[in-house]
């Protein structure tokens, strides 16, 4: 799985790491149980600060996407856990829905976009 870091983007690097790992898990490019590099190795390989990678891994762990074990390092969390969307993600979804409504999009059109986006993200849980 390729991690592409854009240092000129407005998105912070730790968030770029978090978003790309989430996308890779959803698209099954990273499979459940697959080992992730250690914080130090990933920082050294991508040429970024250890604290930045640490922040991304901590966020991913808090959100339940990865597990971090002192002995075995970081790995993609197992399937099947229905965590639901975070408050922040739900707020973003509501904002996008409002923007769609304001552009004159119909409910069916918006739902169709959502379904396409959901399917593009892979079929991790079935």
């Amino acid at each position: 799985m390729l991690l592409q870091l854009d240092f000129h983007s407005e998105a912070p690097i730790y968030l770029q790491i978090r978003d790309q790992i989430v996308m890779a898990i959803a698209e099954t490019r990273l499979k459940a149980g697959e080992r992730l590099p250690s914080i130090r190795t990933l920082a050294a390989q991508s040429g970024i600060n250890v604290m930045t990678v640490n922040k991304a891994y901590a966020l991913l762990k808090r959100e339940g996407y990865i597990t971090v074990d002192r002995r075995h390092g970081a790995a993609v969390a197992a399937d099947g856990e229905n965590r639901g969307l975070s408050e922040k993600s739900l707020a973003q979804l509501r904002l996008i829905a409002a923007e769609a409504r304001l552009t004159g999009m119909t409910e069916e059109g918006f739902l169709s976009l959502c379904i396409n986006g959901f399917r593009q993200g892979g079929r991790r849980n079935g």
Partner: protein, 454 residues
């Protein structure tokens, strides 16, 4: 002496040209989608215009190599050591710069073609890391692997200690060879810390690319350590034969160069084969970080060392201040090479100045000076033939020998002479023995008479 020197310079300097030309010519074969330092989409690598640039580049490299080889012919007829040395150093500079200029011209031409045709599509201006590869990277082998080599390199010192002979020589050799082995132990893991190769979106290919390079370079440092250990042992056994030492040093140098070149070539061949085999959907384009296809400059990359795109081994990230300083220093040293020759010409063609009076004599050549008061002299000899000399330190050329020399019949002497002179004056004092010559025999005889008179 000039003929032997020409042969030594030929053996040391000439191989630089074919090695650089071959390494640069190899850049026309796509490796990690890179052709002459330009990243191209796979389907464009066989375009006729790309092929034409590659063929023209190879032809140009060949023609310049032939021209530079012919340029060496007049060197064989040059009159003196210093002019010969200057000519060789100038030629060496040309042999390094000309092929690189040919490469840069072809690189810029291909890059312009890429821009004109908008052959983009790779992941550009981003730092790309393959997470799967990074998680699977193998660790370097244990440092203990180098221990036998280190022990072998210590053997001459142990033997010298046991037989109580030539301890200083053995200690010098052991220290030199041991340092090279210790350096290998230090550099070996550094190759495993370098950024992993990422050619495209295929994890297995990226892993194989990185693995191939690390395996080859790891093997190279281990081999170099054991080669150095054997060299240490061999040079001890042939220490009394001048030709034996020359042979062993030559063999060691040749073997070390061969190991380094074959390592890089094997790694690149593996890259070439691996990237030619698969049809990728996504590829990495880091051209923006490579100035002229040679110099890496990426302010967002904290790595100091990076695998070279062209050439052998690693290069520095010029976005790091220390890398800038080291690069400028290296370029300065390279461009100042012919100045060493100019300085030698100055040494060889500046005459000695002799200031003699009835009480003392001073012989001066540039910053070197011998000054002797006649009252300090215990014994003086006037020689009409130059005795056998062996330089310990200083300068030895056709027109001047100066410094500390071992002189047949007199032992260690401070000398400042023109080896072509007819008479030589040896002056022994309580502390040192001196040997001088003057521009004319009459002057030397006159000084000798003044000494005898006192």
């Amino acid at each position: 002496m000039d003929n032997l020197f020409t042969l030594i310079m030929l053996a040391c300097c000439y191989p630089v040209l074919p090695i650089i030309a071959l390494v640069l010519a190899n850049e026309t074969k796509p490796k990690k989608n890179i052709v002459i330092g330009v990243t191209l989409p796979k389907e464009k690598q066989e375009e006729p215009k790309v092929k034409a640039i590659c063929n023209g580049y190879r032809k140009s490299l060949r023609n310049w190599s032939v021209f530079l080889t012919f340029l060496l012919i007049p060197v064989f007829f040059l009159p003196s050591f210093s002019i010969l040395l200057t000519a060789w150093l100038c030629w060496l500079l040309l042999a390094i710069i000309v092929p690189i200029v040919v490469y840069i011209r072809a690189h810029l031409k291909l890059k312009a073609l890429k821009v004109a045709n908008e052959w983009f599509g790779g992941v550009a201006r981003r730092t790309v890391v393959d997470i799967t590869v990074t998680a699977s990277l193998k660790k370097p082998l244990s440092h203990w692997l180098f221990l036998p080599a280190l022990i072998i390199s210590l053997l001459p010192l142990a033997i010298a200690y046991l037989i109580d002979q030539e301890l200083l020589y053995a200690a010098t050799m052991t220290l030199s060879c041991g340092s090279i082995i210790l350096l290998s132990i230090f550099i070996y893991p550094l190759f495993f810390r370098q950024k992993a190769d990422v050619a495209g979106d295929d994890d297995m290919i990226n892993l194989a690319l990185t693995g191939a390079r690390r395996y080859q370079w790891g093997k190279c440092w281990i081999l170099l350590s054991y080669l150095t250990a054997l060299f240490s042992l061999a040079i001890w056994f042939v220490r009394n034969s001048q030709w034996g030492v020359l042979l062993i040093v030559s063999l060691y140098t040749l073997a070390a160069i061969a190991i380094c070149i074959s390592t890089e070539m094997s790694a690149r061949k593996a890259q070439e084969k691996l990237t030619a085999q698969y049809g990728q959907t996504q590829y990495v384009d880091e051209d923006d970080f490579w100035l002229l296809g040679l110099f890496y400059h990426n302010p967002d990359d904290r790595h100091f060392m990076i695998n070279k795109r062209v050439g052998i081994g690693a290069t520095m990230n010029l976005a790091r201040p220390m890398a800038k300083v080291l690069t400028v220093l290296s370029l300065l040293i390279l461009f100042c090479l012919p100045l060493v020759g100019v300085w030698t010409i100055y040494e060889e063609y500046t005459p000695m100045t002799v200031t003699a009076s009835k009480t003392s004599v001073t012989v001066q050549h540039l910053s070197f000076e011998i000054s002797v008061d006649y009252d300090d002299i215990n014994n003086a000899d006037l020689l009409y033939e130059l005795p056998g000399l062996s330089r310990l330190n200083g300068t030895g050329m056709d027109t001047i020998d100066k410094g500390k020399f071992s002189v047949e019949g007199y032992g260690v002497c401070q000398i400042c002479i023109d080896p072509g002179a007819d008479t030589f004056l040896v002056m022994e004092t309580d502390e040192k023995t001196y040997m001088i010559s003057t521009p004319s025999s009459e002057e030397t005889e006159q000084i000798y008479q003044w000494i005898e008179a006192r």
